[in-house]
Amino acid sequence: MSQQVAITTRGVTRDFQSGSQTITVLHGIDTEIRAGELTYVVGESGSGKTTLISIMCGILWPTKGEVTVFGTDIYDLDDTALVDFRLENIGFIFQQYNLIPSIDAASNAAVPLIAQGMDRHEAREKARGMLEKLNIGDQADKLPNQLSGGQQQRVAIARALVHEPRLVVCDEPTAALDANSGRRVMDLLREVAVAEDRACIIVTHDNRVFDLADRILVLEDGLITHDGKEMPDDH
């Protein structure tokens, strides 16, 4: 596999204000995420992992530091350009899926294409193809509340991948699943979201799936304390 660098962070720091107090959540993170790898960001609650991936995918400004995604310094872009960059290059899978309850699975999966300006019918057809690839093509016309949790998650995955982004970001994709389902989702993500020119970052603290990662970054108190193929022994 190629080792093209997908994301580079240099000195990324993020502060939050809590009343008069300033809390530093990330302390100068320097790392690289490589394409073709399934990268886990792991850590306890409050360790800064969600903040880190939010910054990596361009939805949260760092207080200091630089973030480059596939060669573009994303925080050097103006607001509109950054939004367009996300639309073209990044796919999101949220923990709670955040599907729109009143439109069917195909339309939900087609949202990024519709947002890009594609004709709705054409976008739905393309989304249907992605749902078939994820083995839920027969559920395309159903509303989210007519689908099981696993099926909803596949729709969310289809939505993240339908516009063929180069970076896929997942937040706790296995949190609500049993061990077998969780492993199936991770296998699926590896199959559809990881490619030579595509990176996939997953935030998780589900130790049942740690063995499926290509790389694990462990975050503790806003610092990367481990970077390797496996989890350190003390975790």
């Binding site: 960059f85 599907l99 309850p101 009143s102 439109i103 939505r159």
Partner: protein, 378 residues
């Protein structure tokens, strides 16, 4: 994205119906109350509207409206006729009287005395009878709303005898007239006959109604009459407005209807504001997800605008339809006779709906725009 916005809205049926109801209810309240208000105050001008021919009304300088008047000497008629540019001028009498009803009650009525020779001053159309009936002794023509009021038991008014200020009167026709502001019974008779019915003072002619000769405007004629006679002369339009203004200035009606219209607006803001903010709050994660995916704030604004627009269009349409149904449904009721919806009122309601949706949409939109895309990861 606009299609998605509409589906997001219509998919949440409870809130969608709540929003539509809020707008429809506000529209109904504002449109219906304004319609009733306008039609009611226009009845201050009903005497002018019911008399179809006069260009100018001439009266004592202290007279203000058809019902608030002060009699003039009979010589005023000749003075008006002597003004150049007057094609014709006839006497007109409007006065109050009491009639004893068949069940012994006293009912206040308005006596209208029209010119004996020409019968100018009568309403344009009679529902029953013919204007020639006024040539028979003691004849009066009653207005249709008054007939319903005076003969509630369904008895035929034609031929009925009334005791009018101790004088005998026989109803021989029913006129299609616009009811007065107080819906008082109106009896039309010849001027000479009316003088018998109205308790005597030296001066009893309340108005002279006149027409302008060709080539003279109504305003010009009114001005000439005022200059040359010292009397007050008002064009048809001015005198109609005087009647309306009198009601506006001397009754609590504008305030009361104003309060109801304001309540309609406030209820609209409250229902729509609350429902819209609940809708946005319920969908905030979805909006946050859309923002994270790459939907710009401009597109989000358009989505919320389309949602508000759809609610406004349907709610406003239903509200106007309900108002039309109300007016149509009550058109047979004498109290609502001749009621119509002036074209300006739907425009005012539309503006109110626009403000309600603009205000509530803006408040809800602020929540969406302030939502950081990163919130979807929390």
């Amino acid at each position: 994205m606009l299609w998605i916005a509409i589906r997001m809205l219509t998919g949440d049926k409870q809130k969608f119906y709540g929003l539509v109801f809020g707008i429809a209810f506000s529209t109904l309240l504002i449109t219906q109350q304004l319609t009733i208000f306008i039609n009611l105050i226009e009845r201050g001008a009903s005497a002018v509207y019911s008399e179809p021919t006069a260009d100018v009304w001439v009266m004592d300088p202290v007279s203000r409206t058809p019902d608030v008047n002060f009699p003039m000497p009979a010589t005023a008629l000749d003075k008006v006729r002597g003004v150049p540019g007057v094609e014709w001028a006839v006497p007109h009498l409007r006065a109050g009287a009491s009639v004893r009803t068949s069940d012994g009650d006293l009912e206040g009525v308005s006596i209208v005395g029209v010119d004996d020779a020409t019968l100018i001053g009568l309403p344009k159309r009679l529902i029953e009878g013919d204007i020639s009936v006024l040539s028979q002794p003691d004849s009066v023509i009653i207005d249709d709303v008054g007939a319903g009021k005076l003969f509630e038991n369904g008895a035929d008014p034609i031929g009925a005898r009334l005791e009018l200020n101790d004088q005998r009167a026989v109803i021989r026709g029913i006129a299609d007239a616009i009811p007065t502001f107080t819906s008082q019974v109106t009896l039309y008779t010849k001027y000479s006959q009316a003088l018998n019915y109205v308790p005597g003072t030296r001066n009893r002619m309340t108005f002279v109604i006149a027409n302008a000769a060709d080539g003279i405007t109504h305003e010009e004629l009114a001005s000439r009459i005022e200059e040359q006679t010292g009397l007050r002369a008002r064009t048809r339009e001015e005198f109609a407005q005087d009647g309306i203004d009198f009601i506006i200035e001397n009754t609590g009606i504008p305030l009361n209807f104003g309060i109801t219209v304001a309540l309609g607006f406030i209820v609209g803001v409250a229902i729509v504001g609350l429902t819209f903010s609940l809708f946005i709050r319920d969908n905030i994660k979805q909006f946050g997800a859309l923002k994270a995916i790459g939907v710009t704030n401009a597109k989000i604004r358009k989505m919320v605008t389309v949602q508000a627009g759809l609610v406004g269009l349907i709610g406003y349409g239903l509200g106007i339809l309900a108002t039309v149904a109300f007016i149509w449904g009550f058109s047979g009721n004498p109290d609502f006779k001749g009621f119509y919806i002036p074209w300006q009122i739907p425009l005012i309601s539309c503006a109110a709906v626009f403000v309600i949706l603009g205000l509530t949409g803006w408040l809800s939109l602020r929540t969406v725009l302030k939502t950081e895309p990163a919130a979807v990861f929390r």
